[in-house]
Amino acid sequence: MIARRLFSSDRRIAVTIATLLAAAVIVPVLNLAVPADSVFHMPSYVVALVGKYLCYALLALALDLVWGYCGILSLGHGAFFALGGYAMGMYLMRQIGPRGVYSHPTLPDFMVFLNWKELPFTWWGFSSFPYAMLMVGLVPGILAFVFGWFAFRSRVTGVYLSIITQALTYALMLAFFRNDMGFGGNNGLTDFKDILGFNIQSQTTRAVLFSLSVLALMAGYLVARAIVTSKAGKILIAVRDAEARTRFLGYRVENYKLFVWTVSAVMAGIAGALYVPQVGIINPSEFSPANSIETIVWVAVGGRGTLVGAALGAGVVNFAKSWFTGAFPQGWLFALGGLFVFVTLFLPKGIVGTFTEWWRTRAAKREPPASAAAEQPAQ
């Protein structure tokens, strides 16, 4: 049944999948097989960069699922992203094994020089890849479930919810900053060697990680789309637009919210897990409230409530950031800040939303008889 929905012959999905699959194959090929002096060669630097954007895109998608479709403005989605990243980072740390600078058989370097004697329980099991992957989803998932369970039943809504999600990520940031937590303090986890036995710095591993990110984004898109196009998706939008009314229709709003919130957190966690091996570091600054706000900005720029828009927004804003910081290191904040103001004022529905609207009006003009009746409000 799920499979049927996922692979229904809908053209939108088909093209999305095709594009993503093509990217998953072509980019690594351009990177690995095409000689470096060819115009078509894609440098590893670009692969890493785009790989990072893809993880951000998945995060943005996750956020759009709760914000765009269910009206929950989370100012703390970075927390789930970072937790997934930490779970992956802990696995990668354990993979280093005795190759750390102190050659300690089990303890990561930062524990050795802070004089820790044994592995804290939080680290148990992370040497196993399946366990770590389970944690990538479970830790953000359970945190989101517990947090959501209380918040949604207490009917914390609107800015109140936004601010407590911000408090959540802020508290986690402060907690992870503490060395006593055993997660490497502000330096975080870094200096990874390999993943599943493959050298993490090799071109091939990078290309594979890139393809995995594409696939994860694709899977995330399909799941998100399956949710929003199902009847449950209609209920989510109903909750977004008129929460009380949905309750009076007999829907248990808190359960819908909890479901989509948890799914979104797991998606964010997976994004984080893919992000860490590609950028090579995870540290508490990923929890910083500003990062979560930035994620909201991506979604808003791309188009809230359009899944593709969220992903696109992440790409556009981060590309702008990468480009501006290199091209105008002194004044790039003017450009980025200006971009946000511009988008809010002139593209209120984001890039995709605005484009969709323009397309629709154009289509309406072109074939007036069929759609005009439906589009025009009756007098």
Partner: protein, 269 residues
């Protein structure tokens, strides 16, 4: 995967409510000595009201009489400070939340028409049609001919068949009122609470609405809150007049409108 733990508590709560020893009455809805105050302001003051099964009742009263607050109490949006609210003879509504109450069979139309503006008209109705309301139920629900047949039926009743593909937000005020009534019908509740159904309607529409409500009342219990006396007269049912949170007068429209105290509160003499 198919068991939905999040939805399991709905029946348990209802069962707990049923198990509480309570006054058993024959009425469908029974309010006794209900009071509620907001920051010192008594919105409802020792209100008692009984609706029999199959009855249609009109509630009138000046602004601030507590009509909407009464609806809020019945539907679980507001918890009374004191008093009993019993549904179907034995279920204590004060212990339940909006969702549970709605699922017991109490439907509500709001004073200000509230429809899901970014959904189409037919989707609005489809969501209201009685069906599995759990998260996973809706997530994996498939296109059901039965449900859509019911949707068609209801769209026919509320005369929105031609507008089914339009966004609900694009409807006119009157159409939204009707859509909301349609959604109410789709829920197939035992008791309908209808808050100002005729507000903002033309005379023709008002007449049609009254006819529709009368039709509905044949098979359901209905409580209508209205200001429009013409509309109430058209309904021709028992009238309760509220004032300052309690019942001022009850009976036929003629009797109530002849009541000295009612005239006084309306005309402010």
């Amino acid at each position: 995967m198919l068991i939905d733990p999040m939805d399991m508590h709905v029946p348990t709560e209802a069962v707990q409510a049923i198990e509480r020893p309570l006054v058993v009455t024959q009425s469908l809805l029974y309010l006794d000595g209900v009071s509620v105050s907001f920051d010192g302001f008594r919105a409802i003051n020792n209100l008692s009201l009984v609706i029999a099964p199959g009855e249609m009742r009109a509630i009138i009263g000046p602004n601030g009489a507590g009509k909407t607050t009464m609806m809020d109490i019945i539907t679980g949006k507001t918890k009374p400070d004191t008093g009993d609210v019993i549904f179907d003879g034995q279920i204590d509504l004060t212990q339940l939340d909006e969702t549970a109450i709605a699922n017991l069979g109490i439907g509500r139309k709001f004073q200000k028409p509230t429809v899901f503006e970014s959904h189409t008209v037919e989707d609005n109705v489809e969501m209201a049609v009685k069906a599995d309301r759990t998260v996973f139920g809706t997530l994996f629900s498939r296109h059901s001919a039965e449900i859509w047949k019911r949707v068609d039926e209801i769209l026919g009743i509320v005369r929105l068949g031609d507008h089914r593909r339009r966004m609900a937000g694009d409807l006119s005020h009157g159409q939204k009122q009707w859509l909301e009534i349609g959604m109410l019908l789709a829920q197939d509740p035992k008791l309908l609470l209808v808050d100002e159904p005729a507000a903002g309607m033309t005379d023709v529409e008002t007449g049609a609405t009254a006819d529709l409500l009368k039709d509905i009342a044949k098979t359901h219990s209905v409580v209508v809150v209205e200001h429009d006396m013409g509309f109430i007269r058209e309904l021709g049912v028992k009238v309760t007049c509220l004032h300052e949170g309690s019942v001022l007068s009850e009976g036929t429209l003629d009797k109530v409108s002849a009541d000295e105290r009612v005239i006084e509160v309306y005309l402010g003499r």
